[in-house]
Symmetry: C2
Subunit: 528 residues, 2 copies
């Protein structure tokens, strides 16, 4: 069993301050044979009494598995994924059964399951994983998550999360100052993902203009309209549906060829909406669109919003990182609310410029949780700002990463990703068979391109070529998944047929990985 390769380590984590807790003889002599977990169960771990050592040994063994995975993740020779179809995994590959038993299983079986879970998963930390906006594994971020789950507490009150609540305050203030807000304004929260952050922005904007909505609902309001670009994230429409505004009342504003919102079209869309009897209240601008990585012209949009008294939100889930780079932060300006992602999943923030609004919008003052007669300053019980009750501690990993890198470290990490994007952009222009989806240099780390196999290169632009080109990326992707050596995403967009989108956010990625990607696409696609 492969487990024993990992278990076959010389471990001892028993010495030091816990010596009084009953170290076993086998452990005390500094070296020992691997623990046999084949007749040990979870009932033999803490909190059962006298189980300190067994708990340590089990978690040590898990650590060994995780360390092996982390080290393997960074090796280029390792696979990005070992693809199996759903039915194959369900059938129980090599004994890996997903089914849940009535009787407990041994710790040995659990450790085997952990290894298998990692084995059949996708290695998002691999230097050649380009498939998603989030990639890479920050060791400090992982350390932060391990501590967070060990502390296992909840963000609703200072009473149960004193340190994490204060860390959230410190981080939000820091982010607000980077966005350019002064010290006494600004509010915010960590949210379970960027889509929920966008939802908060619409929720708070609606409440700002129409506070009666909280008690009386949308029935008491005129028909609202909000605006976002055709390249913006689908979460704006999704949130409008959830919030009872309706996805039809999201007006889609046109973009230029580069994927940036056209301010004149925003302005005319607002006028048209008003003429139809709708009441515009909110504009979402995107700093780093999902596919093209485009930055909407924030200054121009801000002017329009100010002139017309509309709430301006910046969805910076993808582009927010550029604020950390001195070379690239000029793309931002002042806004009403903003959201940012970063760190291992989940790690997203909503920032609101108007202090107190989040609390007013969402508070219900449940007395079992938010008592006013507590022995400390209850303004630190920030849980009622949230639309959740229990809220996961997402802040710690990010706080620890900031300590580890410093503001400067974040900046250089961003710069490195953008350099990789520029390198790919250059390579695409030099190599035969590749075509850029848009000509300009990337503003962010997204680079969008087609691979055109030799058989299509002589075809004239038109529907026939489009139909055939549309099938190239999915076919190459399928082969890629079977090989498992690299992973990149594709999609159509508007009138453009399926193209590859390469994004760089993984600090492990080097120029050699970019070369590998292009070589692999060519190798897998040249016969198509």
């Amino acid at each position: 069993m492969d487990l024993f390769q990992l278990a076959d380590r010389i471990i001892d984590c028993s010495a030091g301050s816990d010596k009084q807790q009953g170290d076993s003889a086998a452990v005390r002599d500094g070296r020992r044979t691997p623990t046999d977990f084949s007749s040990i169960y979870s009932k033999d771990l803490l909190p059962a009494s006298g189980c300190d050592e067994m708990t340590k040994e089990f978690l040590q063994e898990l650590l060994n598995i995780l360390l092996a995975y982390i080290c393997k993740s960074s090796r280029r020779s390792a696979k990005v994924l070992d693809f199996h179809h759903p039915h194959q995994l369900k059938e129980g590959l090599e004994g890996f059964s997903l089914e849940l038993p009535d009787q407990p299983e041994t710790l040995e079986q659990l450790l085997v399951d952990c290894r298998d879970t990692l084995k059949y998963g996708v290695n998002t930390a691999h230097p050649r994983f380009f498939n998603q906006l989030s990639s890479g594994l920050d060791v400090i971020g992982v350390a932060g998550e391990w501590l967070t789950s060990t502390a296992n507490t909840n963000m609703f009150t200072y009473e149960v999360s004193p340190v994490f609540i204060l860390m959230e305050e410190v981080l939000l203030k820091k982010m607000q100052s980077i966005v350019g807000w002064s010290g006494d304004e600004g509010d915010g929260l960590f949210c379970p993902g960027g889509t929920i952050s966008n939802l908060y922005s619409i929720l708070v904007a609606r409440y700002y203009f129409h506070p009666e909505v909280k008690a009386r609902g949308m029935g008491a309001l005129p028909r609202l309209a909000l605006f976002t670009s055709e390249h913006s994230h689908y979460s704006v429409k999704k949130s409008a549906a959830v919030l009872g505004i309706g996805s039809d009342n999201v007006v889609v504003v046109k973009c230029d060829e580069r994927g940036k919102m056209i301010p004149a079209d925003l302005e005319s869309s607002i006028v048209t909406a008003e003429q139809k009897g709708l009441v515009p209240f909110y504009v979402n601008a995107t700093a780093g669109t999902t596919v093209y990585g485009a930055f909407d012209p924030l200054d121009d949009i801000a002017d329009i919003c100010q002139r017309r008294d509309l709430w301006m939100h910046v969805d910076a889930a993808w582009g927010g990182g550029l604020l950390m780079s001195d070379r690239h932060k000029s793309l931002f300006c002042n806004v009403e609310s903003s959201q940012n992602d970063g760190g291992p999943l989940q790690c997203s923030v909503i920032l609101i410029k108007k202090r107190g609004l989040l609390q007013d919008c969402n508070e219900l003052g449940a007395e079992y949780l938010f008592q006013r007669d507590k022995p400390y300053d209850v303004s630190f019980d920030t849980g009622d700002k949230s639309i959740q009750c229990g809220r996961h501690v997402d802040v710690f990993k990010f706080w620890l990463m900031w300590k580890a890198k410093g503001s400067e470290g974040f900046g250089s990490q961003v710069n490195k990703c953008l350099e990789n994007a520029e390198y790919l952009y250059d390579q695409l222009q030099r190599r035969t068979g590749f075509e850029l989806v848009f000509k300009n240099k990337p503003e962010h780390s997204n680079v969008c391109f087609w691979y055109v196999p030799p058989s299509l290169r002589s075809l004239q632009p038109g529907p026939d070529r489009d139909t055939r080109l549309h099938q190239v990326a999915p076919c190459i992707k399928r082969r890629m998944m079977e090989k498992g050596t690299v992973l990149i995403g594709y999609q159509p967009l508007g009138t453009k047929v399926n193209f590859f989108r390469c994004v760089f956010s993984n600090p492990a990625t080097q120029q050699e990985d970019v070369d590998f990607l292009l070589n692999e696409i060519t190798r897998l696609g040249e016969d198509l």
Copy 2:
């Protein structure tokens, strides 16, 4: 520096399958002195090349800190908390600074910060932490979270989360069968907390009766009304506000003395709402209320809902665990949707009886993520069912816990918590100075009581006694937080002045801890 007490361990995790990765001589000889992290930075860890060993040593050191914390957590002699006011923590106690630097800090400093974060936090795993519904630390659950954050992927598609997506399917089906739904019906999702699960239930119910709401918003609908009991969780009102239904349109149904919804009051409330022109569509029944732990009469409520064609949801965030106990599962019946919490935070599920509705309600079909031309069965790309885009992997820890305990193990864990509650209930009746808030035996593990200090015992019931009794629990709680030996919550409810609520969900808690709690309350409160 205390860190070195922890660092002073004999560790070696270098042997085995990764030997080729360049073990240092210091490590290879099986024992070594602690690594000096005082000049090492995060840039010296993976993905930087040649940093496998340093990464392992850093994470090993973190593990030692976490293991020491886990072992200490279960010791009764350790404090539950070491309370400090916000301003004290902000000032930087013993050098623990929350501020974020421009320059990177050393790994040594980060490890010290990790220790301080745990030191000044609240030990929710302590056998005497009774403050929140969720308490205790499940070692297997923690192991699951560590693996989850190491795998660092996202639940949106099978493409990037093959194993976790299938585990979610397996777990949902298992939970559906326990709720009593047949194999081919039923749908669901893991959600970021019980409040969001409740929000899903209202969202889906609204869509079921009025699918036009998705595109056209609440403006296209009649004025909806939903129903929940006065003892139910505040998340129902909060969700109604978020969804644009309005908290005023949540009709609060009366409860009996025991905290259970009165079916006759539900029926008359529905009639009254209809007479006012509202359109009832949804009833939330609670299986285990937050404060009293009461179970609404689910069968009676189901009858009313069926007769009147209303959606019935069961909020089982707290009481759902009883489904795992053969002795207590009779409290449940068939329902339209249901939600359950369990495992380390966050771990919550929404179950929907009508298959396909979640997808129809929430899908937007973003082409960059949910391509239809993928090389596998894309019905496993379940991300578009969610109101999130990125979704944290909450399933794995719960799956691993289930493997570890088996269905039977969950059941006996629940039974033990209920035995503790019965023991407390008995003790309260035997001891002087304690009064039960309601007389009946607890249905769940909540036990609500007053401590009446000697000076109040001769007072007649009435406003004067109430005013003084109202101040007792907060005062004892304040003293408790200062001592840090035990933690329990209190609240007023309706006309009842502040009382203690003791809840049992921590497997570490024994009867001796119940005795300690009552002794401590007496000791801290007898002079009041």
